[in-house]
């Protein structure tokens, strides 16, 4: 069905481009460009303001994590994969750790699972807040950036309080979460986990996030120019979205109400009430709107979760040298950018035999050549930005 869409598009284009007999120009957008989120390069064929086609060139940030993880131990890999999608570093760790735990058949203490869940949702909000900041900026509005980043900073403070890291927490351990934050080498290891006052501060932060979400909605959704720039622009129909493997908010904006948090069991999401916001048209505006709603839903989840964090240990019993039994497992999780999955093949050693990292942004931007056919130059930025990718997540 995706093929039919493609053909149709090409046919409708042919009638447009036939009469233009001007010379095409190749415009090289990136790898150094203000709005390519890092080092994405787009080679666009343009005629004036019209873009005929775009060829994305990636790999400027390829760090070879899949190869590296073949020579690293499981605890070492956690530090690496933090850096895949650095905007939501924490969320990257969870599916990998869960994959290893599945192979080891470990039972993770509930308290650890709840902490993972809370921090994952915080990572989601902070990732979406970055989108809320950068997307209007790409459309020319500079002010929402400050409103969004200000609140994101509070979340990063909370994350830092728990994990010690703002961007790269490296907080998960196989069998649970890092058990003793802050205990130095000379101190006796004290079983402390969450910093004092964490719940109250989180509750307060959630209030502020909701307020910020309202503010952003006022600033952006009510703006005629934003609507003119995003409504009906970059429409990705659901059948195209699934064929390209678009996931997360991008998929939901196309009207597919699918969320791995509802179907997978990597974290205890089934205990909480939350809705899956979906868009109607699959255009840039819907992709923005879905993310805004997800911020509110994540607030709901966190508020429910901090009320119900059970007491108990933070770590399951694990041997000091972690060896994962031979086997294959694929664990996928609903990360802020979309489906993040780890296909872990173990041969019983201290490190994976093969680790395939399925990152969301890679598939999300693979739709660009399709979506950027026959648009205008400003729409390149509008569409590209609305997909919310991070180059580290694309190149890995």
């Amino acid at each position: 069905m995706a093929i039919d869409q493609d053909t149709l598009r090409h046919m409708s284009e042919a009638s447009v481009s036939v009469e233009l007999e001007t010379q095409d120009m190749t415009l090289n957008i990136g790898p150094q460009h203000p709005s390519t989120h890092g080092v994405l390069r787009l080679v666009a064929t343009v005629d004036g303001e019209r873009v005929f086609g775009v060829r994305p060139v990636i790999g400027y940030m390829h760090r070879g994590y899949e190869k590296l993880s073949e020579v690293r131990t499981y605890p070492q890999i956690t530090a690496l994969i933090n850096r895949i999608d650095w905007v939501s570093g924490y969320a990257n760790e969870v599916p990998f750790i869960v994959a290893a735990e599945r192979l080891m058949e470990l039972e993770v203490p509930e308290r650890a699972q709840f902490i993972r869940l809370i921090l994952t949702e915080m990572a989601r909000i902070s990732s979406h807040m970055v989108f809320m900041a950068s997307y209007p900026l790409e459309l020319g509005a500079a002010t929402p950036l400050f409103f969004a980043l200000r609140e994101r900073e509070r979340l990063l403070d909370l994350l830092e309080g728990v994990t010690g890291g703002r961007f790269h927490p490296n907080f998960n351990r196989i069998g649970g979460v890092k058990p003793n934050a802050g205990a130095g080498p000379t101190q006796k290891k004290t079983p402390q986990d969450l910093p004092a006052g964490f719940f109250e501060e989180t509750r307060e932060a959630m209030e502020r996030i909701r307020h910020a979400a309202d503010q952003l909605e006022d600033l952006i959704a009510g703006n005629e120019i934003i609507r003119a720039r995003t409504k009906g622009i970059g429409v990705i129909p659901p059948e195209v979205a699934v064929a390209y493997g678009l996931s997360g908010p991008n998929l939901r904006a196309s009207g597919v109400g699918f969320d791995l948090r509802k179907t997978e069991n990597y974290l205890p999401y089934h205990l909480f009430d939350f809705d899956i916001p979906t868009g109607e048209n699959g255009d840039c505006y819907d992709r923005w709107w879905v993310r805004l709603q997800e911020i509110r839903q994540s607030c709901r989840i966190i508020e429910q979760a901090i009320d119900g964090v059970p007491e108990g240990p933070l770590q399951a019993k694990v041997p000091k040298v972690i060896k994962v039994p031979a086997g294959e497992v694929y664990v996928r999780a609903e990360n802020p950018k979309g489906e993040m999955g780890y296909y872990l093949v173990s041969d019983g050693g201290q490190g994976p035999y093969r680790l395939k990292i399925r990152s969301a942004s890679f598939s999300n931007i693979s739709v660009l050549p399709w979506a950027l056919e026959n648009v205008l130059v400003p729409d390149i930025i509008a569409i590209m930005g609305s997909l919310d990718f991070v180059l580290g997540d694309v190149d890995r």
């Binding site: 460009h33 303001e49 500079a142 409103f147 703006n223 003119a228 205008l376």
Partner: protein, 334 residues
């Protein structure tokens, strides 16, 4: 005292004095507005803004920036059309400087009261367009070229509503002299915005577009065209564009104030009082408009190029023509 008066009654000395005054005004106005923009945008974004330079409120920030620009290397791309590239900023600035000539700061405070003042102002401001196009063309950069072409398309499209918006006031005043228009408003007893609110609105929108400020900053459009026609400029040539933008904000606002808001005049002030307070009143009014421009700049995103053209050709120009028709009819009937 007499010596000085005698000295300035000499044409050449007076000319030199005027030139110096204008030359001083451009950086002064640029700095004041630039600083206002920095501080106001900071306020709107929950920031502090410039803080350290100069000791208090960072008042010397713009001076420091200016010094920095002059210290920078004057980079010229290897493939650039050198003479065109080098002179482009000058043309942009000239277009702005020349506008100061016809702005009446007080009853007798005007550099030159041309009988076709407003006509001159609108004509001379187009020189900047040529400068922008030259900058875009000569940079040998695709982004610059696209920015330059966007600027040309945009400035041509918005020159029309700008001119048409002015016509209403000119019809009412019956003169094209800038002082004449202010005097006509004094005589009428109300600023022309009361009857020419449509013209004023169109003028301000078109002025924003002429200034290539958000929401009409497509020729620069950082997120799309890097910096548009400014991409390859650095050092003092960049500073020229920078200054020209802020000075242009001042001059276009001053023209709007003169045409629609009664210029240097406030009701209830005598002729002598106006002679002294005129400049202050004018500048105060100008800054109200400048504030609005800054406000828009930090609130709105930018249009798309085709949406901008649609706005100009489908909405502003017909509206301006209708405004002229109504004004002319009423002028004849009443």
């Amino acid at each position: 005292m007499d010596v000085i008066v005698d000295l300035f009654s000499n044409f050449w000395v007076a000319l030199l004095g005027k030139i110096l005054l204008v030359a001083l005004m451009i950086p002064l106005v640029g700095m004041v507005i630039g600083f206002a923009e920095m501080k106001l945008s900071a306020k709107m974004q929950n920031r502090v803004g410039p803080y350290f330079a100069g000791g208090r409120w960072g008042w010397a920030q713009l001076i420091a920036d200016g010094v920095k620009f002059f210290q920078k290397e004057d980079l010229i791309p290897a493939d650039a059309d050198r003479p065109v590239f080098k002179t482009a900023p000058i043309w942009v600035l000239v277009g702005t400087v020349a506008l100061f000539v016809v702005i009446p700061f007080g009853p007798d405070l005007i550099f030159r009261d041309l009988s076709v003042g407003i006509f001159y102002a609108l004509a001379i401001s187009s020189i900047s367009t040529i400068g922008v196009l030259m900058a875009g063309w000569s940079s040998a950069n695709k982004y610059s070229l696209m920015g330059g072409l966007r600027a040309a398309g945009q400035l041509i499209a918005y020159e029309l509503p700008l001119v048409l918006a002015v016509v209403g006031s000119v019809i009412l005043a019956g003169t094209m002299s800038m002082t004449g228009i202010v005097e006509a408003q004094i005589e009428a007893g109300y600023p022309y915005i009361v009857v020419q609110f449509v013209g004023f609105g169109i003028f301000m929108v078109a002025a924003l577009a002429e200034l290539t400020r958000i929401p009409f900053d497509m020729p620069i459009a950082e997120s799309e065209l890097v910096m548009g026609y400014l991409t390859e400029y650095s050092g003092f040539r960049f500073l020229f564009f920078f200054l020209a933008e802020f000075a242009n904000m001042f001059t276009l606002s001053a023209i709007a104030v003169t045409l629609f808001l009664g210029g240097y005049w406030l009701p209830g002030l005598s002729e002598t009082q106006l002679a002294y307070l005129g400049p202050i009143i004018l500048i105060a009014k100008v800054f109200v408009l400048v504030f609005a421009m800054i406000w828009f700049r930090w609130t709105f995103p930018r249009f798309r190029e085709d949406q901008l053209q649609t706005l100009a050709w489908k909405w502003l120009i017909p509206l301006a023509l209708a405004n002229i028709l109504v004004t002319a009819t009423l002028k004849v009937v009443l």
